[in-house]
Amino acid sequence: MNPSPLSAEDYHKLSDRAMDNILESLEEAIDAGVGRNAEEGWESGVLTLSCGPHGTYVLNKQPPNQQIWLSSPLSGPKRYDYSLGVWFYTRDGSTLKQLMEAELAELAGESVGVWVERR
């Protein structure tokens, strides 16, 4: 299933919002002490979350494909498209929010709230 294309302006607005919300979620979680030695980074449009010995998450926008790309140290690479209000992985329909929350909860040993489309 191929999502219908967004206007360039909408893509940037939606993906910027998603990246910003994810960054804020990670910062709040780390501030609250969730995850030992976790460190978030935001540099030149690339969002990273290093989880000590577990590895590093990398997220960034991919404007030519209108996607957000994710590299997970647990489950590898995924590309997320936007349609009907959510960022989702076309191969299995799972959302970016679902993956981040599930995997981070596994690593942290407690539930982690991750906002993507909205707070």
Binding site: E27, D31, G41, W42, E43, S44, G45
Partner: protein
């Protein structure tokens, strides 16, 4: 080594240059800082953002090392530091950025009347955008009144911006007490323009509960054209960036980082931390020598600003002597009357006015800047010159004559042309 012939004009003869006592305007670069920078101009000249080759990697490593040096000087984490083109840019970025980010719920900013022009002008620009700004007055010694500050904070205040050391008078504001006060109000951020303070007096962002700090390279014997901004990450403080681009420096300040300048700033900070105590005691001794030397031989002198301020900045007003004639007569000493940034206009120093100095006293003020490289011989020479010039100018002054005769100048009814 260079690969081409370098044509350097021959120096005609050694001409004596004026004694430099204007370190608040700018300072000579420490030769050790220059040494640290040079390889990054001619040999290791990579762009620190180039990810694909060793030139980029080594430049990036040098920048990150410098970042740590700058952070250490103010007790911050290296990731908290953002490199800018100087304290003016940092002040603009922080004040406008914080105000604009929080403008939905908060539209009030507090600052003082004695801030640097870039802070005052940024606030004025924000007023045009609809923000409200309180410009706190200062006491006669130049210090902020904490009770007045407490009164001024509102539920809609987003930022309090108060400089650590004043560039004209050397007055040191009580950052720790101000930080305590600001922290009692949730959602109010504390910024300090520390351009004249960093590396000279101890600054600790956690002790003073600072959220933002502005740093200038060329005030601490580093290169001109570079500075830094401390932007707290724990707890995170948010601001809207001024520069858009590739998202460098956490998205807050896009633009290629000037590796050699940053290496210079880092080295200047590293040296300043190491030598702060020694510099401070030397500068204090020279400062006392200067003040005692002048005041023991000349009367009717007013020291502007708290005498417990930074000793390397001494602002003196010489009654009944006109400031410009003083400066004209002191061509062999490089001094400033009022701040360097207002030297193009003829307006009297607004900082001195805020301290309550009368207009004529503000016009007859001199700012003596003592730094790491000032010598005792220079101070002694300056004392003699000042005493000589002030005495001569007073001898020519009809006002001085009247004062000597015991006439109270306040009783005179002057007529205009």
């Amino acid at each position: 080594m260079l690969g081409f012939k370098l044509d350097v004009p021959k120096r005609e003869e050694i001409t004596l240059r004026p004694i430099y006592l204007d370190v608040q305007a700018t300072a000579p670069m420490d030769p050790r800082v220059l040494d640290a920078m040079l390889p990054y101009y001619t040999d290791q000249y990579g762009n620190p953002h180039s990810r694909t080759h060793a030139y980029g990697w080594e430049a990036e490593a040098a920048v990150e090392k410098a970042r740590k040096h700058v952070a250490d000087l103010i007790g911050a984490e290296d990731k908290d530091m953002i490199f800018t083109s100087g304290a003016t840019e940092s002040n603009n970025m922080i004040i406008k950025g914080v105000a604009r980010f929080h403008k939905e719920k908060k539209n009030h900013i507090i600052t003082t009347q004695t801030e640097h022009k870039c802070v005052l002008d940024s606030c004025r620009k924000l007023q045009e955008e609809g923000f409200e700004v309180t410009y706190l007055p200062v006491k006669q010694n130049g210090l902020v009144d904490l009770a007045e500050l407490a009164q001024a904070i509102r539920p809609t205040t987003s930022l309090v911006s108060i400089m650590a050391v004043n560039n004209e008078t050397g007055v040191i504001q009580p950052l720790k007490e101000i930080g305590e006060l600001v922290k009692q109000h949730r959602g109010v951020y504390f910024h300090s323009d520390c351009a004249q303070a960093v590396g000279k007096i101890p600054i600790d962002v956690n002790e003073a509960k600072l959220d933002f700090v502005s740093i200038s390279g060329h005030k601490i014997y580093g290169p001109k054209g570079v500075g830094a901004a401390y932007v707290r990450r724990r707890p995170r403080v948010r601001l809207e960036p001024i520069l858009s681009g590739g998202g460098q420096e956490r998205g807050l300040r896009s633009g290629t980082l000037p590796a050699p300048l940053i290496v210079g700033l880092g080295e200047a900070c590293r040296l300043a931390q190491r030598e702060m105590a020694a510099d401070h005691s030397r500068v204090s001794a020279l400062s006392q020598r200067l003040i005692d030397g002048i005041t023991s031989r000349v009367t009717h002198i007013v020291r502007n600003g708290d005498p417990a301020g930074y000793p390397g900045c001494v602002n003196l007003s010489f009654s009944y002597v006109e400031g410009e004639s003083l400066l004209m007569a002191l061509k062999d000493v490089a001094l400033s009357s009022g701040s360097a940034c207002t030297s193009a206009s003829l307006e009297p120093s607004y900082v001195l006015r805020a301290l309550g100095a009368a207009e004529d006293m503000a016009h007859s003020s001199l700012r003596f800047g003592i730094g790491r490289f000032t010598t005792e011989a220079e101070i002694d020479f300056v004392i003699d010159r000042i005493v000589g010039v002030v005495t001569k100018l007073r001898d020519m002054s009809p006002l001085w004559e009247m004062v000597q005769e015991g006439i109270d100048l306040e009783t005179i009814d002057w007529s205009q042309h």
